[in-house]
Subunit: 305 residues, 2 copies
């Protein structure tokens, strides 16, 4: 099965307490599509300007990502710059220039509109809905979001939620969206807004997955050295969606969803080990399988005999 991934494609400037790099490949759809490509065919929907480096196009190409839905238009690519604090837990956005993204209207080629899996990576919920309007083949829709949209486009977001199978968001966003301080209550409250499944990310503390009658708590992969947290959430969403897209949507069980959350965590853990998509360019199925296995050994305990 294939997965359509729509979101932002950006040129990032990122500063950490240790390093600073400019003009990096970034954006939610970049991270998510590459992460998904390890599991399933990916159709990328997005927009870049005519300044977008060919090497980034080639990176998508090397991962076998279908670029028919990638619009290259006159003007500059979306740019973002940010700085992380010493503990990597908080970051400040230094500048945002929407550029060609300001007038982005996603248009789905035929193949993409037939994709059974749709990952609406983090962009405005209005755009996410617009993609869904064209997704005739959609049978399993996953949406990511962020605090900005809860603040400035909550009605659009609520309208979108009624149309998606799964929402991914972080713990503070889940609390913000629902007004519940308990994440357990927040997960249930979000399900009442539409999504059958909700994944609440807790950063270094892992992820919680909710369905109607099941719950999964997944720890985070322990990392000693984080180089750049940018895109970790997008890589998580991409790994999760990519793994699911290797299955028939009708066959997806809660056990598959658990695995999907672990694969998402594995991709996110690789992603933060280097700036931009540097680490995801180096790994393959074997490294992913190894880390999945390590993850399992680190979190499992035995039944009482």
């Amino acid at each position: 099965m294939s997965v359509l991934v729509v979101g932002s494609i950006a040129l990032d400037s990122v500063k950490t307490p240790v390093e600073a790099h400019e003009n990096l490949l970034g954006g939610s759809a970049s991270y998510a599509s590459v992460a998904a490509s390890f599991f399933s065919p990916v159709q990328l929907i997005g927009v870049v300007g005519d300044d977008f480096p060919k090497e980034h196009i080639d990176l998508f190409g090397c991962r076998g990502i279908d670029l028919e839905g990638l619009q290259v238009v006159p003007g500059k690519t979306f740019r973002w710059s940010g700085e992380y604090q010493w503990d990597f837990n908080s970051r400040e956005t230094l500048s945002v220039a929407l550029n060609v993204f300001e007038h982005f209207t996603p248009k789905l080629p035929q193949a993409a509109s037939n994709a059974p899996y749709v990952l609406l990576a983090n962009i405005a919920p209005g755009l996410q809905s617009h993609v869904l309007d064209q997704s005739q083949g959609a049978r399993f829709v996953i949406a990511d979001t962020m605090d900005l949209w809860i603040n400035i486009a909550k009605d659009d977001l609520l309208a979108l939620l009624r149309r998606v199978d799964m929402l991914i968001l972080n713990d503070s966003e889940a609390r913000q969206l629902t007004g519940e301080t308990s994440l357990i209550r927040a997960g249930s409250a979000i399900r009442r807004l539409g999504p059958r499944f909700v994944a609440i990310k807790k950063g270094e503390h892992g992820c919680l997955l909710f369905s109607e009658d099941a719950f999964f708590s997944c720890g985070a992969y322990p990392l000693e050295d984080i180089h750049d947290p940018t895109g970790a959430g997008d890589a998580f969403a991409g790994g999760l969606a990519g793994y699911l897209a290797s299955l028939n949507p009708e066959e997806v069980t809660f056990d598959h969803l658990r695995k999907a959350v672990v694969y998402g965590s594995v991709l996110a853990s690789f992603n933060v080990e280097a700036f931009s998509l540097g680490r995801l360019q180096q790994i393959g199925s074997e490294e992913i399988a190894q880390r999945y296995d390590t993850f399992r050994r680190m979190t499992h305990f035995e039944l009482v005999s």
Copy 2:
């Protein structure tokens, strides 16, 4: 095997945003000994004043806890009062009256000094060492501690750490003790101070367990309704130590330690469901086994087939 538990025994006044109760049974040794008693014979070492209610003595008695090492001396029992903020994550100590605890000198009866397992629940590290000096049968020593001792008795704590097999502390304390922001680095750094095993508690985010060559990440049991967080860490330590004490110290593997951490988490999760030891008085082996099983179902995922 039996486990010696030493720590504070207190009369607490606890206020939450919802309820307030006075003269509750509290103290690190009270929670820890009752939690341990579900798994193994327990010898309690502590001190109370002649105002200590008989019903609390009876509670220990009902749990089969050996009270030969419990000193009842003229004067008032140690008293603590605290208030929790709306999210239960922060609390303020309103008052502390050491009373008979000020001149507490633990003395071990013969049976207690022969106990193969020793749980040094949270009290001053000097007192913990004093108990260890008398523990002739000790073969597996677990110590709990808190930020106060890192601040005012760090040398005593460092001296103690060279003599214990396992240290239990929370995430902020681990960072404070080592100066490492990464908990993974902090766990390794604490191991270099002495303990073979380190358990770092992360509150609602679970617990990390470190050994020389293995690592375990345990989620917390998800709770919708927390009534009183007091003693959760002590119940965790007690459940952990009690389960281990059901084994021969020479036979303890890392798989047993994983289980011990889960049992500790199970006891802590029950403990916060009511004030004082109210909930631990209601449960039995069956409830504990059920929650252990639920815990396992919530955190496990399958091998890749």
